[in-house]
């Protein structure tokens, strides 16, 4: 056979072909959150239909939640209404919900894997573009719109056209100070924000194989930032080891592991597009503009390009073509979001800042991806280390990844952020976002300016 992993999973989930292109695709796991689901539930109500399979949907509140005083009612009335609405909808339609006070609450893409709900070979959707994160486990996971959320609630299926396929191979060893986030920022800077549109990406190669599950999630998470429908990585021993502590969600462990072990792209399979990258060429990365493709190696200068979009972007950022970002003072450091808020990220940051103090004029906050991550960080004493460095530890949620809750970056301020999007106004109206890895963020927090973590570590 010459099938890709994607083909194998896709074929197993086609309920029916509508025409040459459209299929009814069965969905194994559906996640919902408060922002993109209310109109879908409203639709069910109007049509007088129930949720097709309640067992396969899980809800959580993440986008609107405050990260301070989470035990108290949400102050913003509209945010509160949306979160309350999710609770009401889940009650009315009998869908399981990890609400704000639930010990398993968190960012939807952090809790899925954490709870063992994300597994190889599955189809997973959520009304959220970063659903691509789950692909790290070797499944087909992609973001959908609210009409499609309603499709899934009503039929446990979506109407889809099979996307084209791309493989990105990354081989070699990463230099110290260079991590998974740098790898994906590098790839996006090379392919551009539309570089993978229409495609589903498989990441392969020794660099990916050597990455932890957390690192793989970071890579798959940002697939959408180059326009990809999703990204996936073949399951291996690491994937299975990760799941072995979450066996309760798996019906037949023996049978499942046997299937997972066989889930590989055939050597004769072909892709619509293929790219190769050398890990040794990747350096700590930073973005300078208002889309995630506008990234450079941290010691490089901003390119001297032209065009209306480019100029508008640099104008918004208050930066100039040819400018070097090293030593530029910054105002905020945000460590969080579904890209980099897992326990491994917090460990890496804590290890770096241990015994150090943040720079005086910088506000640094760390927002764990879930209550579970938060608890584990406490257990390991990471919270103490970070607090001693002057970092503020918050409760779980999307926080300053998007300007929807209380955590916003003020207009004109520079925020070094471990999140995934640097769009105009993403972290609040007028906020200026510089996307980096957790390690580079930690180094910036200590220095109060942009620094090359490779130089800092050597010193």
């Amino acid at each position: 056979m010459n099938q890709t992993i994607f083909d194998k999973i896709w074929d197993r989930h086609v309920v029916e072909k509508i025409d040459d292109k459209q299929v009814i695709l069965y969905i194994d796991q559906h996640f919902i959150h408060e922002v993109t689901s209310p109109q879908a539930f409203e639709g069910l109500r109007k049509r007088k239909v129930s949720v097709f399979n309640k067992e396969r949907t899980l809800g959580t509140a993440d986008h609107n939640v405050p990260t301070l005083n989470q035990d108290q009612p949400i102050k913003d009335p509209l945010s509160k209404k949306q979160v309350d609405q999710l609770t009401n909808n889940c009650e009315e339609f009998d869908v399981k919900l990890y609400d704000l006070v639930h010990p398993k609450q968190g960012i939807v893409h952090v809790i899925g894997p954490e709870q063992g709900l994300t597994r190889p070979g599955m189809t997973i959707v959520c009304g959220d573009s970063h659903t691509s994160t789950h692909g790290a486990f070797g499944c087909i996971a992609f973001g959908i719109g609210t009409s499609e959320v309603e499709q899934v609630l009503a039929s446990q299926s979506v109407l889809q056209v099979k996307p084209k396929q791309m493989r990105i191979n990354i081989n070699g060893t990463l230099y110290p100070g260079v991590g998974a986030k740098d790898v994906i920022l590098y790839i996006i800077s090379k392919l551009g924000v539309g570089g993978a549109t229409g495609h589903f990406v498989e990441y392969a190669g020794s660099t990916i194989e050597n990455m932890s599950m957390e690192g793989r999630m970071t890579v798959c998470n940002m697939s959408i930032e180059m326009g990809a429908r999703g990204g996936l990585i073949a399951p291996d021993k690491k994937t299975i080891d990760y799941l072995s502590t979450r066996k309760d969600k798996v019906k037949d462990w023996e049978l499942s592991t046997e299937y997972w072990n066989g889930l590989k792209t055939d050597s004769t399979a072909s892709f619509d597009a293929e790219y190769n990258f050398d890990a040794a060429k990747i350096a700590p990365m930073i973005t300078y503009g208002t889309n995630p493709g506008m990234g450079i190696k941290i010691d490089q200068s901003i390119p001297e390009l032209s065009g209306e979009s480019f100029e508008k972007s640099l104008n918004y950022m208050g930066l100039a073509p040819g400018q070097n970002l090293l030593n530029m003072p910054i105002d905020y450091v945000f460590i969080g979001s579904c890209t980099n808020s897992r326990i491994e990220d917090l460990r890496e940051v804590a290890q770096f800042v241990k015994g150090k103090k943040k720079a005086k004029d910088v506000f640094v906050f760390v927002v764990p991806g879930s209550q579970e991550v938060s608890r584990q960080a406490k257990e390991e004493g990471l919270d103490k280390i970070l607090e001693e460095a002057g970092f503020e530890m918050r409760g779980a949620g999307c926080s300053a990844c998007l300007g929807m809750n209380e955590d916003k970056i003020p207009a004109g301020k520079y925020c070094v952020s471990t999140s995934n999007r640097n769009f105009e106004g993403r972290q609040g109206p007028g906020a200026r976002t510089l996307l980096v890895s957790p390690l580079t963020a930690a180094a910036a927090a200590i220095a109060g300016k942009i620094v090359d973590v490779r130089k800092v570590e050597m010193a």
């Binding site: 292109k21 109109q39 399979n53 109206p429």
Partner: protein, 197 residues
């Protein structure tokens, strides 16, 4: 969903590339639990300044341009999957968006809401911008049945492609959710023999 009928209209140009859905409708306006009313905040931060005053240089605040066709630079609708972007464009009065490239999720969202995304080549897009630039009152015709985007006064005719199923949905105002509900038995049967590892 309303049936999609032929359109004859002026066009509104935004020649910017990579317009993301955070620009189309910023996150802080996503808190509504209904589908209506998003048009007021369409392109909010490009349209209004921090004191909520209209920005004179933005095309939606310029009376010269109007109509139900929006023309934008490549990679329109990238970023967040928020369907609110399609709702906001529709609510504002747009029925068609023309670009040389659409982000996947946006395209699906648009089609699911009766908003027609028309993909043209980079050169064709350039020509359309030129036409609007020289005559803001130029009229464009959209025929979905014939899959044609034309500007009669300029002898411009562009054939566009669309997925046949989506075309039927738009023309007949067919709702994909009702369609899937009608398939529930088939899906139930599939589910009964489908193994989730």
């Amino acid at each position: 969903m309303k049936k999609f009928t032929n359109i004859s209209s002026q066009a509104v140009p935004i020649p910017m590339e990579d317009i993301d859905t955070d620009q189309i409708i910023p996150a802080r306006f996503l808190k509504s639990t209904s589908r209506a009313g998003f048009g007021a905040n369409l392109f909010r931060d490009w349209r209004y300044d921090q004191n909520d005053q209209p920005k004179k240089d933005f095309v939606l605040n310029n009376d010269t341009y109007s109509g139900s066709i929006l023309v934008c630079g490549k990679n329109f609708g990238c970023g967040s999957s928020r369907e609110h972007a399609a709702w906001a464009l529709g609510d504002y009065g747009f029925r068609v968006v023309v670009s040389s490239f659409f982000a996947d999720i946006f395209k699906n969202n648009a089609l699911n809401n009766g908003l027609l995304p028309i993909t043209v080549s980079q050169e064709q897009l350039h020509t359309i911008f030129k036409i609007i630039e020289s005559d803001a009152a130029a009229t464009f015709d959209v025929s979905l049945i014939n899959q044609k985007f034309t500007c009669p006064s300029e002898q411009l005719t562009i054939d566009f492609s669309i997925d046949p199923f989506k075309k039927t949905c738009l023309l007949e105002g067919m709702d994909t959710i009702d369609f899937l509900i009608s398939k529930r038995e088939t899906i139930r049967e599939f589910e009964s023999r489908h193994l989730v590892y």
